[in-house]
Symmetry: C2
Subunit: 650 residues, 2 copies
């Protein structure tokens, strides 16, 4: 396709207006490129992340279609594709909409792949659109199909004779890090395939891929799908259970709750991914059941509710929380996601004879530990059950006999004796910092944490109500948080306050976006700071400068050179990255406890939140939070035991 051609087509289609789709226009045709973006908008997404490349440029031209711009469609140019994927990930984690990223064949899509894998592992909705070679180039047995195209790896053998496998990258991701994958080789099925991938992404809450040949985007397609289905929401994509099934399950759960003396609710990560945070908190409020956060699901439950009992993470959590959890005879685990980080390396334990109900998007599972029996009902999403439970549960029949001496969890249980952070001019330690952070957030703030050393300290802090906490806590790819925060900031522009579901946050309060980032992690993806500047995303950006990979030092090689990094002057970065006269950014070097206290107080109470604040906070190289140390020690003990099992004679 030539540039001139694409411009002609664009001017031809400028007439089309979205509201026309609502009328009967089954014969109306629009270019596929326009269809794709229109469908993305109708699925709830307005900002598109990515990097241009010659195989996606003709598609990107449709970003400028006036009717799409009118609906808020915008291009968000990232510095590289991995960062773009991370940004789309953050965008979706905040908004629960589909984060969309566009890359180009090979060079772009492969650069993004680790961000997609992370989203797959952590149930984040991303649509990855890859611009690929023309249909005619990949048609088999033609002179074109034998040509080695740029961005495409040739065959290992006979590369000068046999053409490349045009779908080599498609085969790499299909069924591995993508829940739904379509290569659009036929214009007649292209629209249906797009719709299918979008629905699968919502249904599975995982990334999906669409491969778009560069010569497909200007071909005309019917608007039928848009007329027949003018919007797609997540709920539209879930199989609705029959009334019978719904009642059957709800009745069992209600009865088990009525029979329980001390039930517990776990709010796990899939509650958030399936947009049921509000409902879960309503259910807690209505039933007054003791409730626990998880590592990956932290901040789903409003932790200031009087029945909040802390974050449960098996043997790796706080002893006082374990003690409470082991008093419970019925566990309702909403949105369960079992993995080694979230389940304390699979050390979850229960009270003797406890009953457990796992509520998952694909199944509801009832376990009776006294008889060691279980029943699984598949094909039902827990969100429908939760909605029904709120309606059906009758507080009159509740018969809880919780130990009245047990109080709600407070951070002081884990951090009883940390000195006051602003007491004097002294080095900042992780423990003191944790204490300072415990009073730093306001209700409704959005906090992103990198998965470095300090991340571990957050687990046992009680967050204010309606705080949205975002961290890649299972896949653990360092460097994710910085570009993800940029994506969160874009989503906060598109859907302001969408995470706030009750009235505890004053309507005139502008939620802050706060990033906690390690220095080693930040170096991985640092260029995306410039995008925060370019798209004016106000953020409070804490760089924990501890001179290296402290989280790795805790595991192995505390003083090894492989854990060292170059020492940066973080406060100089924004000037280099384009804020020439520091008009949009304030960068502050913080070496003492008193300066930290002063700055945190200033930020917490600031009225205008219209700039970027970067704080470089200097920490000790070997200063780990106790939670990280416990995890490492536990892992070593576990491995030693396993080794002894393997070699009992040793």
């Amino acid at each position: 396709m030539t540039l001139i051609k694409s411009q002609q087509i664009i001017s031809n289609i400028q007439e089309s207006k979205t509201d026309e789709f609502n009328a009967d226009h089954s014969t109306k045709l629009i270019p596929f490129g326009q269809y794709l973006f229109q469908r993305i908008i109708t699925a709830g997404t307005k900002s598109i992340f990515g990097v241009p490349g010659d195989f996606n440029l003709p598609l990107l031209e449709y970003l400028y279609e006036p009717s799409l711009i009118k609906q808020g469609l915008r291009w968000i140019g990232n510095c590289n594709e991995l960062n773009a994927a991370y940004s789309a990930d953050g965008f979706s984690r905040y908004s629960n909409k589909i984060g969309c990223v566009i890359t180009t064949y090979g060079v772009g899509e492969l650069s993004a792949i680790n961000g997609i894998a992370g989203a797959f592992a952590e149930n984040v909705k991303i649509l990855h659109i890859v611009g690929v070679a023309r249909k005619k180039d990949s048609r088999p047995n033609t002179s074109n199909s034998r040509k080695n195209l740029h961005h495409l790896v040739p065959r290992l053998k006979d590369a000068n004779f046999i053409g490349p496998n045009h779908k080599v990258y498609y085969e790499m991701i299909k069924d591995k890090v993508s829940c739904s994958t379509e290569w659009l080789d036929d214009i007649n099925t292209a629209c249906n395939k797009v719709d299918k991938v979008i629905k699968d992404i919502y249904r599975y809450s995982k990334p999906g891929y669409i491969f778009v040949p560069v010569d497909l985007v200007n071909q005309l397609v019917s608007v039928n799908n848009l007329v027949n289905e003018p919007s797609i929401s997540m709920k539209d994509c879930l199989d609705k259970p029959s009334v019978t099934t719904l009642n059957e399950i709800t009745d069992i759960i209600c009865n088990w709750i009525y029979q329980s003396k001390a039930p517990a609710i776990i709010g796990d990560v899939l509650v958030d991914r399936y947009e049921a945070n509000k409902e879960l908190n309503l259910f807690i409020k209505k039933t007054q059941i003791w409730n626990f956060s998880t590592v990956n699901g932290k901040s789903i439950i409003d932790e200031l509710n009087p029945y909040y009992m802390g974050l449960y993470n098996g043997d790796e959590g706080a002893p006082s929380v374990i003690e409470r959890f082991l008093q419970c005879d019925l566990i309702l685990n909403f949105g369960i996601d079992a993995n080694e980080i979230n389940h304390g390396h699979y050390t979850f334990k229960y009270k003797k004879d406890a009953r457990i109900i796992e509520l998952h998007p694909e199944y509801i599972r009832f376990i009776e530990t006294d008889t060691n029996t279980e029943k699984i009902i598949r094909g039902i999403n827990f969100v429908f059950i939760l909605e029904e439970l709120i309606k059906e549960i009758n507080p009159v029949f509740l018969n809880f006999q919780y130990d009245s001496k047990v109080k709600a969890y407070t951070s002081q249980e884990v951090y009883p004796d940390i000195e006051n952070v602003d007491s004097e001019e002294q080095d900042i330690t992780v423990d003191r910092l944790t204490k300072a952070i415990s009073t730093f957030f306001n209700p409704g703030d959005v906090v992103v944490s990198e998965t470095g050393a300090i991340y571990f300290a957050f687990r046992d802090l009680v967050f204010p109500n309606q705080l949205k906490y975002i961290a890649q806590g299972f896949y653990l790819s360092i460097g994710t948080a910085l570009p993800a925060t940029f994506g969160v900031g874009i989503a906060m522009q598109d859907y302001p306050r969408c995470h706030i579901t009750d009235d505890t946050v004053p309507t005139d309060y502008v939620p802050r976006l706060i990033l906690f980032e390690g220095d080693g992690s930040a170096q991985m993806t640092v260029q995306e700071m410039t995008s925060m500047l370019r798209y004016q995303v106000p953020v409070e950006l804490f760089i924990w400068n501890n001179n290296g990979y402290t989280v790795e030092r805790a595991i192995c090689g505390p003083t090894r050179s492989y854990n060292d990094i170059m020492s940066w002057n973080w406060t100089k970065l924004f000037e280099a990255f384009g804020d020439t006269n520091c008009q949009y950014t304030v960068s502050t070097l913080i070496e003492t406890r008193s300066k930290l206290a002063w700055k945190m107080k200033q930020l917490k109470n600031k009225k205008e939140r219209d700039n970027i604040e970067l704080m470089e906070v200097q920490l000790g190289v070997l200063d780990y939070p106790k939670q990280l140390q416990s995890m490492v020690t536990a892992a070593k003990v576990r491995q030693k035991l396993e080794t002894m099992e393997d070699h009992p004679a040793a």
Copy 2:
């Protein structure tokens, strides 16, 4: 493995000395981690790139084994894994040794994958070592195998019940971007598998992978392989042809040359990858055959030889070069690599009835265009033929009748009338810049170019002798050049002047390392500039600041926002990246032609080359080299013709 254990093992093995391997020590055992690094050293590589991660830390501990350090082994810590892969790529392109990169399971290996794919596409030798989970974790049907490990994507369905596919990432790369792939699940075969992958990498000149379970590295292995094969060079890995075959092929080639009136040599990229540059230039010197460079093979042929006729790129090259090429009746294409960039989008044309000989690592192919017949002899590497040709060719029998009016190619043919760069204070244009560059290099310099707009201008410049030119000219992943240059610099520390094969470069001349980098490309991988500082790699770093993706603007959307980037203050970067008082770097903003001329003169004649010089050169947003413009125009015409073929009625 615990840290304590690994330290014990390391102290136990401190006794071992390399020279011991030369004696009969068939019963001697060393830890596998030591074996792996010892084998890498014996294959010629001393610097290891990468990023630490919990699945590779125990392996990294062996980097500090004294006997290995004594042999020069060192860890080069990159800022992220993609950059590490690019660095290993540059390391290998410069040295022709194996570039080694170590990453961790999932998060690391996937981040690096685009760099590996680029190396695969461009025949670059990389060994990618991935630290993966313990053997016992991936053993099927155990309680461990059902656990969702961090860094590993869970299954799409039933993820809470069915364990992950531990080899999911292995399956992604095997036989796709890796020429040889081994997962070391058995200590008894581990050493042989390591050796096999290393040999395959040399044989195919492509990347290979070794997946190392974290609990394998301390297990003991025999030193047998090291004793029996104390070193591995590329030549050791190629199948040696029989004397009969060698003679048969050499005879045909010599006869064809003797019969030819106007033969031509093409020096293509695989000549460089198989370390035959010196031999090819010797052959040219001995035969005085006209010779041509290629896009991907530029700088293999010393372009100041009196028979150099320019860079041939089919229809997309300079007309005067095409004219010369079409006079030739025999084409000897050494190291041919056919792809759309290298072959001018497959527009190579030949004189009527010309004979063609393709000399490839896997085959020798004889084509007679008059009878349209061809003969392929497979399984023979051209380097053996080339060596034999040098010996066998007898100048007495040469009977060339070249047009005596034709002179050697000079850059002036393509750039006849560019004004003198230093004439006045004016804007710098790409054309003027190209002229300035044409006299900027010294013999023996090492030049790396990003594949941005300006890269296209280099094709038609004549380079000084013994200049090594490095560019990712086919896979074309922007952002590669900056970390690749860092890798080149590390290789230049390890193997100083190894690219210099004759005596035209004075022995006291220290070759410069010069990078030409676009601003949009640089933003992709910019953090690796800090590694140049950390490992003291002296480099002249030109940033062409044209405010965006100018190479894309030439193709589509010249003024579209998707081609814009944030405008940076490039001269402030090194201070932020750790050169606090500008002790190791000089950063210069260049806005005028006179300042450019002054700076280039200074750099060319500088005596001490012990620091980093960064030049931010401001260029026009829409200023493209003519070669880029021609390529885009040709592509549009070609696509229009193809569309007409498809739809003749249109």
